[in-house]
């Protein structure tokens, strides 16, 4: 069980001064470890980068078909 849990995590190196800075910053916050904080920040950064890469999720053809149904239902004029 312990091994299984460990396999879900990996180690990343960061400079020691940065580690100390983060450690000081998270004192008294809800973060219980530097790892937790770094995970949180990286998730936030990645999500905002992905958000910038938005592209349409339907084709022109699908869009026209959907519009027809929306008109029939009264959602579009």
């Amino acid at each position: 069980m312990g091994d299984e849990k460990e396999s879900k995590y990996t180690t990343v190196s960061i400079p020691k001064p940065l580690y100390e800075k983060i450690k000081a910053r998270i004192e008294g916050t809800g973060f219980t470890s530097v790892s937790d904080y770094v995970t949180y920040v990286l998730r936030e950064v990645l999500a905002s980068l992905e958000e910038e890469e938005k592209e349409e999720v339907f084709s022109k053809e699908e869009e026209e078909k959907v519009k027809e149904r929306l008109r029939a239902l009264g959602y579009l004029d």
Partner: protein, 379 residues
């Protein structure tokens, strides 16, 4: 552009007419299992991308990851296990099976994983209680002992008495685009609207392009408003009090789990898939009884910086005699004696006795719409 779908793409698992006909011609070749109405609805939600990025029911790795970390194994936030339970499998991993509701084939499933699970662990992590009086807990306790995971493909949809109002994520996304909305706030409800709801919705709408009212229709508790009553009440509100170009009413079929904070995040993810960029999280959202503290469903969002939809926390509204209008605790400085709070129980009593609630509680037109039903409540 509206919100990016959760996990990056809108899942669509609806079979083409030709493939469907072929499979339905070979039904005798597949093992079959029966699913109840609520599971059939979940299958439709998976197939139409309401639960994107899920393409089927959770396999064991994802199931455990959702329980322990509130994320899928690929790190995508996911808080509610979407699972298919059975009593005893008479097929194997690798088999394709058909899922039936009553005598109708609903979907084909490719069984990737069959596994046992710990019900007590499930309820403790999802519902934060083992109390069998909790409606979600009692449901889990009655489930079969095995879970099966794997992708599904939709063959047939259930009859939908509210098809006219049911929009899928692809459809709402096209609709929002046509309306020119870039920011959309979604509001989830299972109630008829009172002035408090209207205040919260309009307060949120002030900051975005469009309001998406998305009532959940499905199995309800005795005493809840019937689905058709909720729709008619909202139609009345829309007709008389909402700007036509800034608000949309569409329903989704879904069975409440009453998992409080975890389910609040799940509701937000569903609305993200519909294209919403913001989601209103209510007081005691998806709660039941006293299992969750009133604002627990707000705190959980702090754990998801990568959710991709912005929660909007607006305190419950009340009428303040001094302010002379609907306000909330954050913006009203007056004491409790001047505040008239809207009680759902009191509203229900007034409605069942045919008494028009005061205008600071419910719009007259909404009340009349509700009253047009001889019994607006689920028996």
């Amino acid at each position: 552009m509206v919100s990016k779908p959760h996990g990056g793409r809108i899942v669509r698992r609806v079979l083409s007419k030709k493939t469907k006909e072929r499979i339905l011609g070979e039904v005798h070749e597949y093992p079959k299992i029966s699913v109840d109405h609520s599971k059939a609805i979940e299958i439709e939600n998976i197939a139409h991308g309401v639960y994107s990025p899920l393409t089927g029911f959770l396999t064991q790795d994802d199931y455990l990851s959702v329980l322990d970390h509130m994320r899928l194994t690929d790190d995508t936030p996911w808080t509610i296990p979407v699972i298919l339970e059975i009593s005893r499998p008479d097929f194997s991993e690798g088999d394709a099976i058909l899922l039936y509701h009553k005598d109708q084939a609903i979907a084909r499933m490719h069984v990737e994983d069959i596994y046992r699970y710990d019900k007590k662990e499930f309820v403790e992590k999802v519902f934060k209680t083992r109390d069998a009086n909790h409606p979600g807990v009692v449901r889990v306790y009655s489930m079969g002992d095995y879970l099966i995971g794997g992708e599904i493909e939709l063959l047939n949809e259930l009859k939908n008495p509210f098809a006219k109002y049911t929009l899928r994520p692809l459809e709402t996304r096209v609709l929002f685009k046509e309306r020119g909305w870039k920011t959309i706030v979604a509001f989830q409800t299972r109630n008829v609207p009172h002035l408090g709801h209207e205040y919260v919705q309009k307060a949120a709408l002030t900051f975005v392009d469009g309001l998406f009212i998305n009532p959940v229709l499905g199995r309800k508790k005795s005493g809840d408003y019937r689905d058709e009553v909720i729709i008619k009440a909202y139609e009345a509100l829309f007709r008389y009090y909402y700007p036509r170009d800034a608000a949309v009413l569409a329903t989704v079929r879904y069975e409440m789990k009453y998992a409080g904070p975890r389910e609040a995040v799940h509701h937000a993810i569903m609305r993200k898939n519909f294209g919403a960029t913001h989601f209103i999280v209510g007081r005691d959202h998806a709660g039941v009884g006293n299992y969750y503290s009133p604002y627990e469903a707000w705190d959980i969002f702090e754990e998801f910086p990568d959710l991709g939809i912005t929660p909007m926390f607006i305190k419950e509204a009340f009428y303040c005699k001094k302010c002379g209008g609907m306000v909330n605790a954050k913006i009203c400085s007056h004491s409790e004696e001047f505040r008239e709070r809207i009680s759902g129980t009191r509203l229900r009593t007034m409605i069942s006795e045919g008494i028009q609630p005061p205008e600071q509680m419910m719009r007259k037109e909404v009340f009349e719409a509700i009253r047009s039903f001889s019994n607006p409540f689920v028996e």
